[in-house]
Structure formats: C-alpha cells, structure tokens
C-alpha cells in the first residue's frame, strides 16, 4: 500500500505541476465549453438551449477525460522511461502493478478534477442537466468507463511508443481523431453511416452518448445508447481496452532490453 501511495503522490504532483497537461486537460475543454455554449446553440428553441449547452459540456468533459488518459498517462510512462526512472525502479523491490495502480489513480484524480471543472463552467454559462439520482449514478458509471477506456489506450501508447514526444502525440492524435470521427464534436446524425457504426462501437463515444442521454435528455442523442446490448458492448470494450493496456504495461512497460 505504501508503494502505491508513493507512486500516486508522485504522479499527482507531477501532473498538477505540468502546465501543458493542465492546459490541454482542463483549460482547453473549458474554452470550448464557453465557445460552444455561445456559438453552437443556433436557432434552437429557448427552452432547449440549456440542454444543448449541457450536451456540449458533457462532450467536452469526455474529451478532457480522453486527454487525461490517452496523453498524460503515456507522457508519464514514457517520460520516466526516458529519464532512466524505470531502470531505477527495476532495481528496486517494487512490482510493476503497484506502480501502475499509483499512476492510474493519479490520472483518475486529474480526470475527475477536470470533469468537475468542465461541468461547473458549463453550468455557469447556462448548461442545465436533468436526471434522477439513479440516472446520475449511472452517468458516473459511464464516466468511469470513459476513464478506463482512455487509460487503456494511454497505457498501450506509453508502453509501445518508447519515445516521449511520440507517446504524447500518439495519445493526443488518437484522442482528437477518434473524437472527430465518432461524433464527439459533431452531431451523430451528420456522420456518414460507417462512422455512425464506429460511434456506437467506440466505447468512449458510446459512453458519452449514454451520459448525454441520461443527463441532458434522450432528445439530445440520435439513437438509444442505453439498450442492453449497446451498454454491454460499451462496458465490455472499455474493460477490454484497460485490460489489454494493463497487460502490455505489466509485461512490456518495464522491459528495457
């Protein structure tokens, strides 16, 4: 437990002191919440605008979670490998999984902080949310699925891409491209059919649609992401990504030969 908490404390401090990580994970999504809330509400009826803003805030929250997992996590792993820390850790009596739990807990902390700030700013610029207590709990569950899937991708990038900048840019690239093609930044109904299929299969966009459905209303989503088969797929793929990332990191992440 002491090893995990030591790894966690180090990773949290590093993340919170890294200006670039704070900008891209927290400030950038907030900027888009503000811009989106005043620019993209169009000619929608007045009564619907707060929920459109709510939907935008949720999308940006999900994007913040993606950046935290897909970019900050590989940056932390690749950075420690580049500066020789992993070699040092290998010589010490610590198991890779304990370091992994510490790191991922730190990313979850930053993710939740970013998510909370994005929602607070969204609310401040007029976003409104619906949802019963049960729906809020379900939405939080989907938030954790986004974190799991993003962290899984981040672990893969950090493990397989040895170069620091390469690992960061791969994570950012995956986050931006998959956000764009899965309808995170654009309405689902405007996507071509193959991308609509991708949007339903990709666990992050599917979880985002579920959160919007639960907290901004079903009319904000062009399909029902809460069918049992869709939810099962989202859960299974999110955990699969995390599982693959964890296995890769545990087996290859500390390999220095």
């Amino acid at each position: 437990m002491r090893q995990i908490s030591a790894a966690y404390a180090k990773a949290v401090k590093e993340l919170l002191r890294e200006k670039a990580a704070l900008f891209w994970t927290i400030a950038w999504p907030i900027i888009w919440v503000i811009i989106g809330s005043f620019s993209f509400t169009g000619s929608a009826p007045q009564g619907v605008i707060p929920y459109i803003k709510g939907s935008i805030a949720i999308s940006m929250m999900v994007f913040a979670l993606m950046i935290a997992g897909m970019s900050n996590l590989p940056a932390s792993i690749a950075g420690d490998r580049a500066n020789g820390l992993l070699a040092k850790l290998k010589s010490m009596p610590i198991k890779p999984y304990r370091d992994f739990i510490g790191r991922i807990s730190a990313v979850i902390t930053l993710s939740l902080l970013a998510a909370a700030l994005v929602i607070v700013v969204g609310t401040a610029v007029g976003a409104r949310f619906t949802g019963t207590e049960t729906e809020i709990v379900q939405a939080i569950g989907f938030v954790f699925l986004v974190i799991c899937a993003s962290a899984g991708v981040g672990l893969m990038a950090g493990t397989l891409i040895k170069n620091l900048q390469g690992a960061i840019m791969t994570g950012v690239g995956i986050a931006v491209i998959t956000s764009a093609i899965s309808g995170l930044f654009a309405p689902y109904e405007l996507l071509p059919v193959p991308l609509q299929v991708f949007s339903r299969v990709y666990p992050i966009s599917s979880a985002q649609a579920s959160i919007v459905h639960l907290l901004a209303g079903p009319e904000m989503v062009a399909y029902n992401p809460l069918t049992s088969s869709q939810v099962t797929l989202t859960i299974a793929l999110s955990f699969a990504l995390l599982f693959i990332g964890t296995i890769l990191y545990s087996r290859l992440g500390w390999r220095l030969d």
Binding site: A6, K10, K13, A82, N83, G84, L85, K88, L89, S91
Partner: protein
C-alpha cells in the same frame, strides 16, 4: 562470501556479444571501479548486477543471491538523471522511501537526515529542475543509500561535473557510506577510477586487466608520459619525437603530442633541443607519471577518449 560474484557472464544484443565471459569478485566494503570506453559493456554489466537486465548465461550473485532476490541490498544510480524535476529534493526522497516501504513519518525523518548528510538541507524544498548537475547527482545517490543497502552501483555519476565537483562528489560518497557497503563505480574517467581500491579495465565485453591503481600502472604502463605542445603540428615533429618514444610510438591529441619513455627526466632536454634544431618552437613540455588512461592505452592501443568517440 563476496558482495558481488560474477562468473563467465555473457550478454548479447542483436547478435553482438556485449559481455563475453566476464568474471568479477567484489568483497564486502570494497570500492571497485570498472573503467572502459562507451560500448565496452560496463553499463550492461552494472545493469545486470543491479537486476535491471538479465544475462544470457553465466552466474551473477549479490550478497549470495541472484540480483532479483537481492533488490533490498542493491542501491543503483543509473547514468541518466532519474529524479523528477517537477518534485523537490525532499519529495523525491520521500517517494523512494515510500517505494521501499517506509511510512510517511519514517520517510520524513530518514530523508531529513540524508539531506543533511548530503549538504542539501537548504535546498530540500526547492524543485529539482532548479538544482545544479552536482546537486542533482548527490540527491540521486541519496536514493540508493537507504538503510539495508549493501551494494552501491554508481554508473558514470560524475559525467558533466568539473574536476572539483567530481572530487567533492567522491569525498561525499565515501563519507556517507557504511564501511561494509561495497561500491562499484562505472566510469571512463581515469582520475575517478584512481580513487577506488581496485580497478577493472573492460573493453569489448572482456575484462582486460584488474588490480589496484598502482599495480596496474606498475605492470602495464611503466613509462613516463611526456606531453609536448609545439607552435605548429607537422609530420616533422612526429618524426623527431619518434626517436625518444618506446617502440617509436607518438600519439596526437588535443593536448599535443604524447610520447612514452623509461627515462623521462633525461629525455626532456634532448627533445626540446632537437625540436628547436628542426625549427619547431616548443610551447609546452611536461612529464607525468602514467595514469589509468595510459594503462588502458597500453593495453588496447586506443585512448579512452578516442574509444568513446
């Protein structure tokens, strides 16, 4: 029982044998320097002893156990700066103490004492990216000297430090170490290796010589080393100097020409006179006792610095 026992160690990368049957024994409490150029295999040897890499074949024991089973006894300081630049010196040490299983209060107490010993108390709360190279290296050594460490492995710890800082660094290491702790220093700097009680010279994955610094110099580099700097470099200078060097060997380096002589004292005046007669102005001439770098040169026909390049 040796603190470190290595027997017939072999390690291959991409079909290239980096270590080729290395043998090494380091008794408890010994300060041992492993000296060789880049690519000689010394860092690979250190990282296998430190449980960071696995050998292809051969035996490696640290305090009687395989390295992976002796991690509590190993303090390893890799060549790269591994301390986190975003954390303070104290936070870095507390992190490593936590990894070793110390509680927060134990870690606080322990690290305060270590920072004091290392002369870093005043900078304890300063972020490491504000530290000088020497301060950062001292901090990193501290991560490898927690109680229970019996073997300290320092991989090129003084790279980038000036001679005074290097000397201060080794004084600090020797002061803080327990008498029973064995130290392995990996280096390509002869003057650093001179501080060790025993030195192993490694080249192309093989130990080519081993002994105390004096033994090595006596056995392999009995000549005096004369360095001559002339106003202009030319083949004619080389040809004059050839007559005064053993086997006619003259080497050229940034510092000037080097020749080796068994009678340095008597040869100096002749060298200056003959160079003068040949029309070459001598800017500087000096004689020195051989160093470990000269020993390496005698054994491999290469300067350590050339081998590094």
């Amino acid at each position: 029982m040796f603190a470190i026992h290595v027997e017939n160690l072999v390690k291959t990368y991409d079909r290239r044998r980096v270590l080729n049957g290395v043998n090494l024994d380091v008794p408890e409490g010994e300060f041992y320097a492993l000296m060789g150029p880049n690519g000689s295999g010394k860092t690979t040897l250190a990282s296998i002893i430190a449980a960071v890499k696995m050998q292809d074949s051969g035996i490696v024991e640290v305090c009687g156990n395989k390295p992976a089973q002796a991690k509590e006894s190993i303090g390893y300081v890799p060549q790269e700066n591994f301390s986190s630049p975003k954390l303070s010196g104290k936070e870095n040490l507390i992190y490593f103490a936590g990894l070793l299983g110390y509680s927060r209060s134990q870690a606080n107490q322990l690290t305060a004492g270590m920072l004091n010993k290392l002369g870093l108390s005043e900078q304890a709360d300063k972020r490491v990216d504000k530290y000088s190279g020497g301060m950062r290296k001292r901090l990193e050594v501290a991560t490898a000297i927690f109680p229970g460490i019996k073997v300290l492995i320092l991989d090129e710890p003084t790279t980038g430090l000036d001679p005074a800082a290097r000397r201060a660094f080794f004084n600090m290491v020797q002061e803080i170490m327990d008498k029973k702790t064995s130290i392995i220093l990996i280096t390509h700097i002869g003057s650093d290796a001179e501080l060790a009680s025993r030195v192993g010279l490694i080249d192309n994955g093989k130990m080519i010589a081993e002994g105390t610094p004096d033994e090595l110099k006596r056995k392999h580099a009995i000549e005096d080393v004369i360095t001559v700097e002339t106003a202009m470099k030319s083949d004619s200078v080389t040809s004059v100097l050839k007559d005064y060097s053993i086997n006619g060997k003259v080497t050229e380096s940034e510092a000037g020409y080097k020749i080796y002589s068994r009678n340095g004292d008597r040869v100096l005046a002749d060298v200056v006179r003959n160079l003068d007669q040949a029309g070459h102005k001598v800017m500087r001439i000096e004689m020195a006792r051989p160093t470990l770098e000269d020993v390496f040169f005698r054994l491999t026909e290469r300067y350590l610095q050339e081998a590094i390049e």
